[in-house]
């Protein structure tokens, strides 16, 4: 049985990483040239890792399912990236970012990893600026900051509402530079369909060329999975259509433990569902909560238009319940509060499953500020409105445009309607301090791992973690493993292990094609999504979870006997790709419910109806559940629980309060 050892370095928390870096084994430059590393996924974590490792001299191969590495879903991140720079002189520090992240994660993250994340956060901003990432700036030419949920300082760096795009393009350009120099070999439109292990170590992958349908074997001394999260298990989410769990799930079935799968983040501000045709949900950045105010009518089932409801009849429920953080409470709390109001009958819009995000007050505030700036002593209301709208447009213009495009309503004139949607998954492959999974030589970076966000991630921290892992963590920690691999020559992919792995992948693809059932893949995906959203979404219960596990098992059987996949196996076949992914989601969904059922407490994004305080807040049980649940795959529908105890030596564990 695999032993779970987080390999956290000894010493004081603040010195662990420095000491580790000074003592980790190194690989000399000539040996690096003969060591091969496979990177799967080209988002922030994958692109930054691949570029940085190639710069160091390793031979790198990068795989992505999209047609270009620049399209990985990190591109869609909107609001910003945190860093403990304290440029605003408002009391930020490495410790405070560390503390906010642990608290925001509801005391379910690993202290040493989070502290390291906070330590390297500043270097990320430096690196990105040096690459030419055009962050927002003030008139003096220095970088601008804004606030995100769960913090009381301004530490978020941003590029309008397109921060993820700009950061990814920075990492992508660094990656393409290495491609141009011949240090990285790029495989686009390739999907990893299995990890190859030899004598217990990860030694390569089986990938399918989506265009020709051909299976390929690739060797690596180490394999890095930078393959993102699994939010699409819910069918509707803010993830891209292609985002999937397949790489991580294949690794899981080859021995990598899957940690805290039930920790999913439901983002409070998304555009509500408009009908059954809906294929995905669109996020409205958390940055909008800097200036927007969230409310519902005080009267139940109020059918008046938003603008007809007078101020005194509006319930700014976040400001009412959480005066210290107001509209900037963390995501899990804001989402539950929205659900609570809508379930109680105070929701708005035709579906009544929405709340208002209102910019009227911000427009007036900014308009008056502009008037002062321009020495206008008695501006008219129209002047205030138009100047205020101009400021809002500069800060959030692309988001407002997107809202208008999708809903057909103008958010400068009427409040936006928003509702929570699945956005991010804190759970993922279990990794130790070195980001290595329980399979030697197999690593997981970025959203694909579990380590830094506990049971709830703070806004603007995903970009930070992805780039921290890729630029500043893996280049050091991978030495601990590869230093012992310098005598391992490149292996032939004609070995029995590779051939067997490829054959298994081929058999599975043929099995899928040969089912020739009656229902398209989407039919099964939608049904799985509904089960997950209803019973493993914002509120979970023992009864619901037990029933869901049975339902999902039945759905798995139905899928494997009735799915209908058109087209050919040896040609571009998006339905075949989707089928493989949904088959994996069907197994993951089951494990998520098992994990949620095991955790008899509420924490962060995991809310069990049986465990709540009198005023509806999450009720943790630190005596019994201060552990990482790391699941080992045994066989179909059978998973074994391993526990990594979480030790809080530097932070006093307390009830999380934002009141």
């Amino acid at each position: 049985m695999t032993k779970i050892d987080a390999k956290i370095p000894d010493g004081n928390l603040a010195e662990k990483w420095t000491k580790f870096k000074s003592s980790v084994p190194l690989v000399n430059p000539s040996n690096k040239r003969s060591l091969e590393i496979i990177v799967v996924g080209s988002g922030l974590a994958g692109a930054s890792a691949a570029a940085s490792l190639a710069e160091l001299g390793y031979k790198v191969k990068v795989f992505c399912f999209q047609d270009s590495p620049r399209r990985a879903h990190s591109i869609a991140a909107q609001g910003g990236i945190n860093a403990a720079k304290n440029y605003q002189n408002d009391g930020d520090s490495v410790y405070r970012l560390f503390y906010d992240t642990i608290k925001g994660g509801d005391y379910r993250a690993r202290e040493a990893n989070v502290h390291r994340l906070a330590e390297v956060s500043g270097s990320i901003i430096d690196q990105c600026v040096a690459q030419g990432v055009p962050f927002a700036r003030e008139y003096g030419g220095l970088l601008s900051n804004r606030s995100f949920g769960g913090t009381q300082v301004q530490r978020t760096f941003y590029a309008a509402g397109q921060t993820g795009q700009q950061l990814l393009l920075g990492a992508y350009s660094a990656l393409q530079r290495q491609v141009g120099m011949g240090n990285v070999e790029l495989f686009t439109r390739h999907e990893m369909l299995d990890v190859v292990t030899i004598d217990g170590k990860a030694r390569g992958i089986i990938a399918r060329d989506s265009v020709s349908g051909a299976l390929e074997r690739h060797f690596g001394h180490a394999v890095l999975l930078c393959t993102g999260g699994y939010g699409n298990v819910f069918y509707l989410s803010t993830n891209a259509m292609g985002s999937n769990v397949t790489a991580a799930w294949k690794a899981h079935k080859k021995g990598a433990f899957f940690a805290n799968p039930c920790y999913t983040q439901i983002h409070p501000t998304c555009i509500p569902v408009s009908g059954d045709h809906q294929s995905k949900l669109t996020l409205m950045s958390e940055s909008l909560r800097n200036d927007g105010r969230i409310w519902v009518p005080k009267k139940e089932n109020d059918t008046r238009k938003a603008n007809e409801i007078p101020e005194e009849e509006r319930d700014y429920y976040l400001e009412r319940r959480y005066p210290a953080f107001g509209n900037l409470v963390p995501r899990d709390i804001a989402s539950r509060a929205a659900k609570e109001r809508c379930d109680a009958g105070f929701g708005v819009g035709s579906s009544k499953m929405a709340v208002y995000l209102d910019y009227a007050a911000a427009i007036i505030r900014y308009g008056k500020g502009e008037a002062n700036k321009h020495n206008m002593h008695s501006p008219t209301d129209e002047e205030i409105q138009s100047m205020g709208k101009a400021v809002v447009k500069e800060k959030y213009g692309n988001l407002f445009d997107m809202y208008k495009q999708i809903t057909g309503e103008d958010p400068y004139e009427v409040p936006m309607r928003i509702y929570p949607a699945v956005h991010y998954t804190m759970g993922g492959l279990w990794v130790d301090y070195n980001l290595m999974t329980t399979v030697p030589g197999l690593y997981a970076l970025g959203e694909a791992n579990f380590s830094d966000h506990g049971a709830n991630r703070l806004g603007a921290s995903a970009l930070m973690q992805g780039l921290a892992d890729g630029y500043f963590v893996i280049p050091y920690t991978i030495g601990a493993y590869l230093a012992a691999e310098i005598r391992t020559p490149s292996m032939s992919t004609d070995s029995e292990d590779f051939v067997k792995a490829e054959k298994a992948v081929q058999d599975r693809l043929e099995t899928l094609m040969n089912i020739k059932g009656s229902k398209p893949v989407d039919y099964f995906h939608k049904r799985l999504g509904k089960i997950m959203w209803d019973e493993c979404g914002m509120a979970r219960s023992e009864k619901g979870l037990k029933a869901s596990i049975k339902e999902i098992q039945a759905l798995q059987k139905e899928f494997w006997s009735d799915v209908k996949i058109p087209g050919e196996i040896n040609n571009l076949n998006p339905e075949l790709e989707k089928a493989g992914r949904v088959a994996d989601f069907l197994e993951l969904g089951e494990l998520m419910c098992i994990d949620a059922l095991d955790r008899n407490e509420s924490c962060g994004g995991h809310f069990r109806l049986e465990y709540q305080t009198e005023d509806g807040e999450a009720l943790r049980d630190d005596d019994k559940y201060a552990y990482v649940a790391a699941w080992e795959y045994e066989k179909q529908s059978s998973f074994k629980l391993h526990k990594e105890e979480l030790k809080y030596e530097n932070i006093k564990i307390a009830q999380r309060s934002y009141k």
Partner: protein, 252 residues
């Protein structure tokens, strides 16, 4: 059925790069005006699957207008009739009941068709690999605020950097020129002090790669700017030309 739009679709079908393609006509009904264009294609595809036909292959991923993957040429225009949106953000409220809609892939010899509406845009990756970067290895950077940058330049650099690499500019251009795409990256880096050191080699290398890929010369019609879903300005092409010529004149 969720809505009441009934449409005729003429869609380009092509098995692979080697085979010739042709238009096929399909009827769809009950389309909701709240659907995106791609969701309308989803409806068609699920029907084709149930009827035992091969669904229409098309590129798409984020469906929120930022990844640059979707690429349909709709009624003779890249990303359809509306300005400033990608196909995934084009909604069916922009179409009328009974309309016939023609859907083609990007047409350019540098973007060969892979299947149906899917084309190969890897030429763009190679143009970036030729010089669309600042050569700074991880760990070399100074403190970010040690390099103040004039806000107007930073804003202009951001506006150029907003390019999503979808290729609509190439599809719109009668010469299939990639100058808007290439110039956006050259401009972004030319506007920033970090980008100055390599400015000359960058302009020359990226333009050379662009030519080698088989993209045509600028048509000077401005179609690229008009059809760009992100509003990338044609001024970038002028800046690229300045950068390129000054690099050529000063080269050793």
């Amino acid at each position: 059925m969720e809505g009441n739009l009934n449409l005729t679709l003429k869609i380009w079908r092509q098995k692979n790069t080697q085979t010739a393609g042709k238009f096929e006509t399909y009827q769809v009904s009950g389309i909701s005006t709240d659907m995106s264009f791609l969701e309308m294609i989803d409806v068609l595809n699920n029907r084709l699957i149930e009827e035992g036909d091969d669904p229409v292959a098309f590129d798409h991923d984020c469906r929120e207008g930022i990844c640059g993957m979707c690429s349909m040429y709709i009624n003779g225009r890249p990303h359809g009739p509306n300005r400033g949106v990608t196909t995934c953000q084009l909604h069916m409220r922009s179409f009328k009941d009974g309309e016939t809609i023609t859907v083609e892939p990007w047409r350019a010899s540098a973007f060969p068709v892979i299947k149906d509406l899917v084309v190969n845009r890897s030429a763009f990756d190679r143009i970036i690999a030729a010089g669309g970067f600042i050569s700074v290895n991880t760990g070399n950077a100074q403190d970010a605020n040690n390099l103040p940058i004039n806000k107007d330049n930073a804003d202009d650099a951001f506006a150029a950097a907003a390019c999503i690499g979808c290729g609509a500019c190439v599809a719109a251009c009668k010469n299939a020129s990639a100058m808007l795409f290439t110039s956006a990256k050259i401009s972004q880096l030319a506007l920033l002090p970090q980008g100055q050191i390599e400015a000359a080699t960058r302009a020359q290398a990226m333009v050379a790669q662009m030519d080698e890929e088989g993209f045509g010369a600028c048509s000077n019609t401005g179609a690229c700017e008009a059809e760009c879903p992100k509003g990338i300005s044609i001024e970038n092409i002028a800046r690229m030309n300045r950068e390129y010529f000054s690099a050529t004149f000063s080269s050793k």
